[in-house]
Point group: C2
């Protein structure tokens, strides 16, 4: 949990003092249960149980490397003695739909007066069955991805704010942008910088308790939403903004670019997973890092000059030795500081960012 | 009006056999009344009157160069003897809001049983006063910009369709992309090509009677919407797609890139207005054409290789001689065929596109 909260929160942290069940049935692994993994990593103390009937009895740390001691169950009923207050939907699938086989868990939760927290595109609160149950049992359904109603188009105005705006971008989607932005925020705070993590996706919002899911605003308002996030937080020294998608991913590139032109960052951290060879869910090869740097800087430039300041490597599945070699090779290839935030921290990035701070 | 209609129309042409009043009060000029100008140019025979109280008694051709003989009035009442059936909102302002001083025209129209056709973000049909009046007087409110409900994320699948997909892109917004795409469609049809104009914005949809306003879909679905438009029209030889915004415009770049990666075009026509020096509504200078070509081709390439095939110049306000010189200079600078579609036609583009057709 972040220690310091922004006064202009758009959402009240839905997870404060709650006892959360994370639903990740059949998809609890490091790549598919992105939301579950993020919430377990950054809100560990509030998670009391997980649901995945294929992993009952195992320890989460065996599967995702974190979350030691959280029980994995196969039904809501089994968890009732632990007095859960909330059921959090722990996946972010392409298209944002609810897997049909999960409806029963939601029904059971509502009937046992457990709130639902969802970041899906599909609004659980607008589903006739779920909304009726929520009324009948007086429980809340929180659809995190709903966007504020006062959005407008972007103007590039964020560049006039004094805060240093650092945006994470990716060689692909799902490579570690949120984790990198969170780790930069934490490390900066430890060094006495007034820093704020700016959430732009459902998991980030669940962790930070504020933000806008920019992939769920009307497409005309992507950069306007990003700009709003910046203007409301202009009093910080450092705004560490969670990026979305990738400039080269055909499904998400529009959101990526709208975010880039709305945030108007002074610096980018390019995130990459060295073992990934193809763009996710496609048959397109990933571009080499120097070419990606050129693309991101080139497309940012007409709105505001901006440099890639470092490379964040997600070395999941590699040994520390392999990761170190990968980092060395990347630094040689790009002439930029590189690190794996979870294995080796982000001090290198803070050293680069600090001279820019107001 | 286009001669040939696509069988898979998403919208029935709202303007068939209608007698339309175009509302452009206080903004009837070539740059602000983009929708009015487009509808007058391409649906001339259905427009019976215009409203702009600052131009009453003038002829539209004096102001926008077209629409000779259409009367300009300052109230709905004055036009009633001409038996209007529809009031069309003839502007596309930033943010898509309804100018407050226009409410009275809408109220008068509804009370006189005249339908409303709107392409604004603000849905007229959801306004309490207007929707009540529409019920009371049994008239229709058509919000063109509402998006289909079955959209998903983009996959890059459009590249498997055999149709040649030509997308217009811009050095800025509002430089002539829709007109260029419409003129390419018409010229191709005249040469016997099976061609379809693909509308992606409200004016284009009003003209073609089909399409999706891609700036009004959820941002996660921009490229998915574009892909849907392609897959439904895969049986044509040529799909001439109306582009949106510009890669370098901070408000619209997300939509521009999502469209580019969803359409997966084989070729682009770069549209530009030579007299424009700054990006619209900003203080950013426009980029030189060779740099823009590099940016568009560079960002398209990771999904599918694609070349800029020609430059469409909007030489509005220049003499024919000045336009010819500008075209020559542009051809020299870019080594690509250039033309002003309205002054000199688009035969040069058709010559370049034709060898690519299936």
């Amino acid at each position: 949990m972040p220690e310091e909260k922004d006064g202009n929160n758009l959402f009240v942290n839905p997870m404060a003092k709650r006892r959360i069940i994370v639903l990740a049935d059949g998809r609890f692994d490091i790549f598919n249960a992105k939301t579950a993994v993020g919430v377990i990593r950054y809100c560990r103390e509030e998670v009391i149980a997980l649901i995945d009937r294929y992993h009952v009895g195992k320890d989460p740390s065996e599967i995702i490397g974190i979350g030691k001691g959280i029980p994995i169950a196969d039904s809501i009923e089994e968890i009732l003695p632990l007095q859960p207050t909330d059921l959090l939907i722990g996946i972010a699938p392409p298209g944002g739909v609810l897997p049909p086989e999960w409806r029963k868990y939601l029904v059971d939760a509502l009937k046992n007066r457990i709130n639902i927290i969802s970041g899906l595109h599909y609004h659980i609160g607008e589903d006739p069955e779920f909304s009726q149950l929520a009324r009948d049992y007086r429980v809340k359904i929180l659809d995190i991805r709903k966007s504020p109603e006062d959005l407008g188009i972007g103007t590039g105005k964020a560049k006039e704010t004094k805060a240093v705006r650092i945006l994470t971008v990716g060689s692909d989607c799902n490579v570690g942008k949120m984790v990198t932005s969170l780790e930069i925020t934490r490390a900066a705070k430890r060094r006495g910088v007034s820093a704020c993590f700016v959430a732009t996706g459902q998991t980030g919002i669940m962790i930070e308790g504020a933000g806008i899911a920019v992939d769920h605003v009307l497409s005309d308002f992507i950069s306007g939403a990003a700009e709003k996030l910046m203007l409301e937080r202009a009093h910080y020294q450092l705004l560490s903004v969670e990026g979305q998608g990738s400039l080269v991913h055909p499904a998400y590139s529009g959101v990526t670019l709208g975010l880039l032109h709305g945030i108007v960052p002074q610096g980018l951290i390019l995130c990459h997973q060295p073992t990934r060879k193809m763009v996710r869910h496609t048959n397109f090869p990933l571009l080499p890092l120097p070419r990606l740097i050129e693309l991101y800087e080139g497309i940012a430039h007409p709105v505001h000059p901006c440099k890639v300041l470092g490379i964040s490597l997600n070395c999941f599945g590699m040994s520390d030795q392999e990761a170190r070699e990968e980092i060395q090779n990347t630094e040689k290839e790009t002439k930029l500081p590189a690190t794996d935030p979870l294995k080796f921290g982000v001090d290198k990035f803070i050293d680069t960012i600090r001279p820019l701070l107001p």
